[in-house]
């Protein structure tokens, strides 16, 4: 125990001696999460749209009016033909197009179905899906209006043959569907890679500088050495978690419905798992450069692409979902959103916690084993 403590003390002293590094993994991590949350929580609104109204009738104008009065759409470009609209979308000026065909009003007058083309830019799938969803909803509403007016004219307004169905929708955990509430807790998984990577760099630096050999000459055991090196970074990571919560509550008004103790506990497990990855990497390589490049890739790209942070897990094929569940970050994103927004605790999050614990123990164990093998 004493030897672990002395290694820890040494590591802390190292950190303090390089204030740049300490600042980076605390203040830097906070600034990073502030910047990312601020950027990514912007709503997709006022989407610039190119319009081709080939009908130019009162009907088509009435239909388009429903888009104009909707905040989601900005009917910015009124094009003469679909080629012009195509070019607008191709160059990225417009993110979608609405094409009302000639004969729109006549078709409706005949009591038939008029088809309007909604064009989306396939290179921005998230925007495309929202444009589509909103356009369909507006068109459906417009159709209902038409129907009601029709029935009115026919004197059937309060006739029993009108049927309506209404979904009364309510979003739980985040009633106004504010993006920041889901983004900020999720991004913690990414920001916590900073203290983790520093740990890998620190171990690699000692190897590079040869100071590791001198440590090995002391009666400290290998596992004690690794534990002593890891704990300071784990503590800095937990400090980061507290700072993130503070920033989230104060600057962004993100709700925190769970218990802080749960968040600390699960964050500790996540850091343990990530530090396992880091340490294992630094026992495999000889230089800081290699440690950073590998840890940088491994701790960043899966978080961005596979953790459920930006792409929901259910939308992945089953194999990929299984693979995504092997990364600690995937579980941590569930955990942070659960604790912040749903207010759930150990009862619901236990499986995720156990996975992180097992992952951390196995990887740290492997790191100790590699470390022994290499030095003996």
């Amino acid at each position: 125990m004493n030897s672990i403590l002395s290694v820890m003390r040494k590591e802390f002293r190292h950190m303090l001696r390089d204030p740049w590094l300490l600042t980076t993994i605390t203040v830097g991590a906070v600034l990073l999460i502030v910047l990312m949350s601020y950027t990514l929580s912007a709503d997709v609104e006022h989407v610039p749209i190119a319009v081709v109204d080939s009908d130019r009738s009162a009907q088509s104008r009435a239909y388009l009016q429903s888009f104009i009065s909707d905040d989601f759409f900005d009917l910015t470009y009124w094009s003469q033909n679909s080629e012009e609209a195509f070019e607008r979308v191709r160059l990225g000026d417009a993110h979608g197009a609405i094409i009302v065909p000639a004969g729109f009003a006549d078709t409706l007058l005949r009591g038939e179905k008029a088809v309007v083309q909604i064009i989306v830019d396939g290179t921005e799938p998230n925007v495309a899906a929202q444009v589509l969803g909103n356009a369909k909803a507006l068109s459906a509403n417009y159709s209902i209006e038409l129907l009601e007016r029709h029935l009115d004219r026919a004197g059937l307004a309060s006739n029993h043959e009108t049927q309506t169905l209404e979904f009364r929708m309510q979003a739980l955990y985040n009633p106004n569907l504010e993006e920041i509430n889901t983004i900020l807790p999720g991004l913690m998984a990414l920001s916590l890679s900073m203290p983790t990577i520093s740990a890998a760099l620190s171990l690699a630096r000692e190897k590079e500088e040869g100071t590791l050999e001198s440590l090995m000459a002391t009666p400290i055991r290998r596992y004690q050495l690794l534990i002593g090196k890891v704990i300071p970074y784990l503590l800095v990571g937990l400090l980061d978690v507290l700072l993130f919560v503070g920033i989230g509550l104060v600057a962004y008004g993100v709700p925190f419905r769970g218990r802080l103790a749960d968040l600390i506990l699960f964050s500790g497990l996540f850091l343990l798992a990530n530090l396992g990855i880091s340490l294992l990497i630094s026992t495999l390589v000889r230089t800081q450069m290699a440690a950073l490049v590998i840890a940088g890739f491994v701790l960043t790209l899966p978080v961005i692409n596979e953790s459920g942070l930006f792409h929901p897990l259910y939308a992945m094929p089953p194999d990929a979902r299984m693979q995504a569940l092997l990364w600690p970050a995937t579980h941590y994103v569930t955990i942070t959103r659960g604790i912040f927004l749903k207010g759930v605790g150990v009862r619901v999050l236990l499986p995720d916690g156990l996975f992180l614990l097992a992952f951390g123990l196995v990887l740290n164990g492997l790191a100790v084993w590699r470390f022994k093998k290499k030095l003996s």
């Binding site: 290179t123 921005e124 569930t334």
Partner: protein, 374 residues
């Protein structure tokens, strides 16, 4: 001058080859990442896990559930007896949407002067899913009434006029996520390659104290940067070629524009991006600083690149910040050429931005290097 640069390149190349594991990783991980990303691509936001609490159990309510399933937007796989159970499923994250059909649903639907109401609970922790589910449900409600009317023989004189919004995606017709996600992954990996590798080359030398040795030789800082940079460039470009080959030959991503144009502009982009790596390495005092600096820049560039959220929807401050991120311009180039058949003339804003950025970055880096050595 060229022979000196050549010698430098040779020395660096030999040194780099000694880090075999790193080399394998640098060229291998992007490939691994692409392959695993290709496996992770689904159909987009479809088949949202949904739970239904059907208290009516009528033909009408069953028809509604059936319609949800047929739309392919919802997978109503969970059937529960009470709203409490439904809330539990939402809490655990098993489902994202819960539908409660009340007992008198069928009766109200056909009753005079009344409409039926069903309650929907959405998981607000995934806002994109919730927003889309709302829009899809509104459409479903309308279609349901339409079909119900047709089935019940409700015909109004003159038929039922309505407007149908027929979707069509341009530039990525089936909204194929593979077509888009894989080039995006390529841009992520290339970015990390282009800043990590040069960031190390100089700091390593300085820490080992061999930088001074190099400067007592008749080498000028510019030659030194060129020599180091060339090696980093070659490594990053090899990484790019590997990934590109995989995209084009193995995954057969439809390629609209000109392949040589993309290959040329990628080289141009890597050079500019490396300017950041060099600048960081001249500002940092230790390798650790330089490496963490490169890492932070990498994360910020990915976030501001416009791949996660299109730049146009970001707050203006970060939109402005993204202008100095070469990767933002490269994203536009890559997507433009691959998917929208951009020619060189469509890309001049990106080319000019990159040129200005490159000149500034390299000038400052050379200046810093000179100053540190004096």
């Amino acid at each position: 001058m060229f022979s000196r640069i050549g010698n430098m390149l040779w020395k660096e190349g030999i040194q780099f080859l000694r880090y075999r594991l790193l080399l394998i990783f640098v060229l291998g991980f992007p490939i691994f990442n692409l392959v695993s990303a290709a496996g992770a691509i689904g159909e987009g936001i479809m088949h949202i896990p949904t739970a239904v609490c059907d208290q009516d159990l009528s033909a009408d309510s069953r028809r509604l559930v059936h319609m949800l399933r047929n739309s392919r937007y919802f997978d109503p796989d969970y059937h529960v007896g009470s709203q409490a159970e439904l809330e539990q499923l939402l809490e655990k994250g098993e489902v994202k949407v819960g539908l409660v059909i009340p007992q008198d649903f069928g009766a109200e639907l056909t009753a005079e002067d009344k409409g039926a109401t069903a309650q929907v609970l959405l998981d607000g922790t995934e806002t994109t899913t919730a927003l889309l589910a709302q829009a899809y449900l509104e459409e479903t409600a309308y279609e349901y009434v339409q079909r119900q009317g047709a089935a019940g023989g409700v015909t109004v004189a003159g038929g039922l006029e309505r407007v149908d919004a027929r979707p069509r995606a341009w530039f990525n017709e089936d909204l194929g996520e593979k077509t888009l996600d894989l080039p995006d992954e390529l841009a992520d990996s290339l970015l990390l390659l282009a800043i990590f590798v040069p960031a190390l080359l100089i700091t390593r030398e300085r820490e080992a104290g061999t930088l001074e040795h190099l400067f007592v030789t008749p080498m000028r800082p510019i030659e030194m940067i060129v020599g180091k940079g060339l090696l980093a460039f070659v490594v990053a470009y090899l990484g790019f070629l590997g990934m590109l080959a995989l995209l084009v030959f193995h995954f057969q991503i439809p390629f609209q524009g000109s392949l040589p144009l993309l290959m040329g502009l990628t080289a141009y982009y890597i050079l500019v991006e490396m300017g950041w790596g060099l600048l960081i390495s001249t500002v940092a005092r230790t390798q650790g600083q330089s490496l963490m600096g490169a890492y932070i820049l990498g994360v910020v560039e990915i976030i501001l690149s416009g791949r996660v959220l299109p730049v146009a929807y970001m707050p203006w401050i970060t939109q402005a910040m993204s202008l100095v991120m070469p990767n933002r311009h490269y994203t536009a180039i890559l997507r433009g050429i691959m998917l929208k058949d951009y020619a060189l003339s469509d890309l001049w804003p990106q080319l000019v931005s990159l040129a200005v950025l490159g000149i500034v970055l390299y000038t400052v880096a050379a200046f810093r290097l000179q100053k540190r050595l004096d």
